[in-house]
Symmetry: C2
């Protein structure tokens, strides 16, 4: 699935909160398996991301339909996507807010990046098919983690 | 405070989840008042954002110290910041996950933007003082909200 709403919530262990609508096939899969991989794409495959968002795994093998390559993960059953810049293998560790907000708490148990992508231009959903593409990075003198 | 970890969780009513560390002065203020404003800055004031992140409201009047202008909000007591592109007036509506994750559920009760900023270049904290600056936006044929 294509997924817009997620955030880090802890550094150690690394944890992510993620909203997955209960109207999605992925909601059922995540609830049943309690595992997933968060695949982080770059602008080069933006069209494939949107194609994934506009279709359902109930009816479509999205890997085959959109030319994406599954790669075996090391800690979970769900696959990585070879074409993505980063892949985060996750386990569901807390479902307390799933009924109320469709909010899953995930622990990242293994993280991968593609070191060949030196300047990954990630995409960020702004709503209704508009995406912000990551621009330059700046470094400031910060004591923030 | 400068704040990295937040996400939308609902369209209607508009709701945001936000992590505020219990080591921050803002944690005490948010817990006591159950109100806040999320101020969304652009790259032009990135240095001021970091200055806010490197100091505490316990000791410093950050508006005065960093040349920021408070503006009266319409629905909450906390002020807007005139120099920010957007300001979201919020009320705390759920504190169930505050003890466990410092996770506040906020409802956005009023939203402001500065219409003079046609192409707001927002900044996105990547950790350790590195920020991604928003680049171009692209539009794709999406059925996603």
């Amino acid at each position: 699935m294509a997924q817009s709403w997620h955030m880090m919530i802890e550094f150690e262990p690394p944890m992510v909160a993620s909203i997955v609508s209960n109207r999605n096939f992925s909601f059922d899969a995540l609830t049943a398996t309690r595992e997933c991989v968060i695949n982080i794409p770059t602008v080069e495959i933006a069209e494939k991301v949107v194609a994934c968002g506009n279709s359902s795994g109930r009816k479509t093998d999205k890997f085959e339909a959109f030319g994406l390559t599954p790669v075996r993960a090391s800690r979970v059953s769900a696959p990585l996507i070879a074409e993505c810049y980063a892949n985060l293998e996750c386990k569901v560790v807390d479902t307390r807010e799933v009924n109320r907000y469709c909010l899953f708490i995930l622990e990242v148990v293994k993280a991968w990046i593609d070191p060949a992508k030196k300047h990954p231009r990630t995409i960020h959903h702004m709503g209704k098919g508009t995406f912000m593409v990551a621009g330059e990075t700046i470094k400031l003198r910060s004591r923030m983690k």
